[in-house]
């Protein structure tokens, strides 16, 4: 019996599964390092987060009689990313609630994979920040284990009590800024030797993961470069004008700029499909982030900057349509 179907008769090997599970793999270096840095509690919190995300998706699809799409791995990504954006000191239920919210309210109610407007992990984080601000913004730990960058714990004692960004927001004194701008601090930020969310510490390891995705074309480097680049340039301008006491390098290495710019802004579902749209998306997101950091009420602007840009995706796609061949 011959099979008949319309052309094309071959397809590339890349499927939604391939893409999603590759993102999970790309997050592993930073995850492993977070366990090493903050202890096994990180493992527990992340597992709870992933379990909650996957279970929420499974139950929602079951109850609403939709096709089970758990295996594509997208809920696992949401679980990991949400865990990455909470403090390693969080109570166990925090990631469970956050992931359930992200999957059910932000993703599934909008139609499930491909249909959500907001990045589920980011919106979940925003939900947690609004609901339990104390747990989300003032609950930091000093890294307990050794270091990647070879710094001694004493050298950084003064500044690792809180995250560098919170410190900056609470006390933007000259001396603080000076220590934040020191090469010691920047090195600590780059390799990940500061207090912060589970997945936001090591810019280096996040970059390695992202590089893998860029090479496989599962994330668009243009969004990341646009986002991180514009944080750098815009914060540089403000530094020059004396509006922010810290140098641009500190801005891109601290907080969630790397995690957000490399892994959240590049979420395919919630970013534009056109090249021009992606550049605008990234660059505008970076500017909003710096705005919030410098003038806003929160120490960190990454989540809201990307969420705001998520809203503009349909518009960006529309205004950046390519000229049709021969038209």
């Amino acid at each position: 019996m011959l099979r008949i179907s319309p052309a094309p008769h071959i397809t590339s090997k890349v499927s939604t599964h391939t893409i999603m599970w590759s993102v999970v793999i790309a997050l592993m270096p930073a995850f492993a390092y977070a366990i090493y840095l903050f202890g096994e509690r990180v493992l527990l919190l992340t597992l709870i987060s992933v379990l909650s995300a996957v279970l929420s998706e499974y139950l929602f699809q079951k109850i609403t009689k939709r096709e089970n799409r758990i295996s594509n791995g997208s809920a696992v990504i949401t679980g990991i990313l949400l865990a990455f954006s909470i403090s390693p000191n969080s109570p166990w239920w925090l990631p469970a609630v956050g992931s359930a919210f992200a999957i059910i309210v932000v993703k599934q109610i909008f139609g499930g994979i491909g249909y959500n407007i907001f990045n589920p992990a980011l919106a979940g984080r925003a939900f947690l920040t609004a609901s339990w601000p104390g747990l989300m913004a003032g609950n930091w730990v000093v890294p307990s284990s050794g270091t990647l960058s070879g710094l001694s714990t004493q050298a950084l004692d003064g500044i690792t009590q809180a995250t560098p960004l919170t410190l900056l927001k609470v006390n933007p004194a000259e001396t603080i800024a000076q220590s934040l701008n020191s090469s010691l601090m920047l090195k600590a930020l780059f390799f990940g030797r500061v207090g912060g969310c589970i997945g936001e510490t090591s810019a280096f390891l996040l970059l390695i993961g992202a590089l893998y995705l860029f090479i496989r074309k599962f994330a668009d480097w243009k969004i990341s470069l646009g986002y991180i680049g514009s944080v750098f340039v815009f914060s540089g301008i403000l530094y020059y004008l004396g509006k922010t006491p810290v140098i641009p390098l500190f801005h891109i290495l601290s907080g969630g700029v790397m995690l957000g710019g490399l892994f959240m802004a590049t979420d395919m579902v919630t970013s534009p499909v056109t090249v021009k749209g992606r550049w605008i998306f990234g660059i505008a997101g970076g500017i909003i982030c710096v705005f919030i950091r410098v003038w806003g009420g929160y120490p960190e602007g990454v989540s809201y900057s990307i969420l705001i840009m998520n809203i503009f995706v349909p518009l960006l796609d529309k205004i950046s349509e390519k000229k049709i061949f021969g038209r």
Binding site: L2, R3, I4, S5, P6, A7, P8, H9, I10, T11, S12, V14, S15, T16, T18, I19, R69, N72, S74, G111, G112, I113, G114, Y115, K217, F218, D220, M268, V269, T270, S271, P272, V273, T274, V275, R278, D317, E321, K322, K323, I324, F325, G326, R327
Partner: protein
């Protein structure tokens, strides 16, 4: 080296290594051949013989009827059995001339060689090409005589000879360039005489540099020819993309190549023109690559009208069970309902797929990865188009340029969610066409 190319496209594995070294081999004709009256773009041909007539190889058996039509010639010596409805490789059953092959009488075609063609007028050349039944042999099967009659208000600056063969698996054009470079170039010279362009480009992809070298070896005889290497990418051989890559000019939406001052013809067609003009040999046979899941990868010089079954038997059959037989390449070719379908003038190859290779498309929601947007050679937004076609908003689909879709299959190929994009665009296009009639 900075190779010429267009924006977008895909890089599927090309599988040309399977059949590229199989030299062109003339085959023994089958017991019966079936010549469809419709095997070119345009009005079907009209039979001019009577049942039980004896026909000779190369004899005209059907004439052109109407504007875009060409005659048909018998590819064998045999007996005309009347017309029958026969399975057509492009779908459905179509009327075909059935000829029983006379196995006793295997005289070859009696060529009438011409030494000098310089005194033949342009008009005469075009009429020889028409009478020889020549159509574009790259797949579209557009009557060549018609294409050569460029409207007087259009000036052709560039003639491009298409030796790209970008569909995976197919090697029939490659073999021609390896085995008949001078003959092809003489055919190109005839096109050049008719069109009188400023430039003649011989375009070959970077994965066939040996073919390029071979073609270039004739350049002392044809000093006017420019040989260009294009980046190996699908669909580099598409007319519009090729013109864009070489001349930088875009064929306007809904327009034809001459609107961009260009004329594109496939190498196989150039060879057919050469044979028609120098030997009065009409188009009744062509090279067909038979490849994929077969024991002997082959390039057969095949009488038009040969059933696929015969060709598959000549390769000593498939390995294991065949699951799909494709007329043409795997990206734009058409899956066959049965092995009774026969070779037409546009059949450049037959690809057999086994159970493991066939696609079982199970689509999932679009994750907006943008791969289709990046690869569309016509710069359409397949992901947007699909959304509107799904809700049957054809007006909007038209506005977004669905009519420019050439169904190259790139978007469906790259889609990680396995959404049948090309397939849906094809349906939408025919719906829009039906509506406007």
């Amino acid at each position: 080296m900075n190779l010429l190319t267009f924006k977008g496209g895909i890089h599927p594995p090309d599988y040309k290594y399977l059949s590229k070294d199989s030299k062109i081999k003339r085959i023994e004709p089958p017991d019966f051949v079936y010549l469809y009256l419709s095997q070119h773009t345009g009005v079907p041909s009209k039979p001019i013989i009577e049942r039980k007539d004896e026909v000779e190889i190369g004899q005209k058996i059907a004439e052109a009827s109407g504007k875009l039509s060409v005659p048909l010639h018998s590819p064998v010596n045999g007996t005309y059995m009347g017309t029958v409805m026969h399975l057509h490789p492009l779908g459905g059953r179509k009327e075909a001339i059935k000829i029983k092959v006379n196995k006793e009488k295997n005289d070859p075609f009696k060529a009438k060689a011409r030494q000098d063609i310089s005194d033949i007028s342009t008009q005469k050349l075009i009429s020889i090409i028409k009478e020889s039944g020549i159509v574009g042999m790259g797949g579209a099967a557009f009557p060549t005589y018609f294409k050569l009659q460029v409207p007087p208000n259009k000036k052709i600056k560039d003639v491009i000879i298409n030796g790209i063969e970008c569909e995976p698996y197919l090697t029939s054009d490659y073999r021609l360039m390896m085995e008949k470079p001078e003959e092809i170039m003489k055919g190109v010279d005839i096109i050049r005489k008719i069109i009188k362009p400023e430039n003649v480009w011989i375009a070959i992809e970077s994965n066939k540099l040996d073919a390029l070298k071979n073609m270039k070896s004739t350049s002392s005889l044809f000093p006017w020819a420019n040989f260009v290497v294009l980046k190996t990418k699908y669909p580099q051989g598409s007319e519009k993309q090729l013109i864009d890559a070489i001349t930088g000019r875009e064929v306007p939406e809904g327009g034809l190549p001459f609107d961009a001052g260009a004329y594109v013809q496939n190498v196989g067609t150039a060879l057919a023109i050469y044979e028609a003009v120098y030997f009065e040999k009409p188009l009744f046979e062509r090279v067909v690559t038979v490849t994929g899941n077969v024991r002997h990868q082959s390039n057969f010089l095949t009488p038009i009208g040969t059933p696929f079954k015969h060709l598959i038997e000549l390769t000593e059959g498939p390995i294991g069970e065949i699951s799909k037989i494709i007329n043409g390449g795997p990206l734009m070719g058409i899956a066959q309902a049965d092995i009774e379908s026969c070779v037409i003038k546009g059949t450049s190859g037959i690809v057999l797929q086994n159970q493991k290779e066939i696609l079982k498309r199970e689509s999932s929601p679009c994750i907006r990865c943008g791969a289709c947007v990046d690869c569309c050679p016509m710069r359409l937004l397949p992901t947007e188009l699909y959304k509107y076609i799904e809700i049957n908003n054809l007006e909007k689909a038209k506005e977004l340029g669905v009519m420019s879709c050439m169904e190259c299959g790139s978007c469906s190929y790259v889609c990680p969610a396995n959404i049948p994009l090309t397939q849906q665009f094809k349906i939408a296009k025919s719906k829009i066409n039906r509506k406007s009639k």
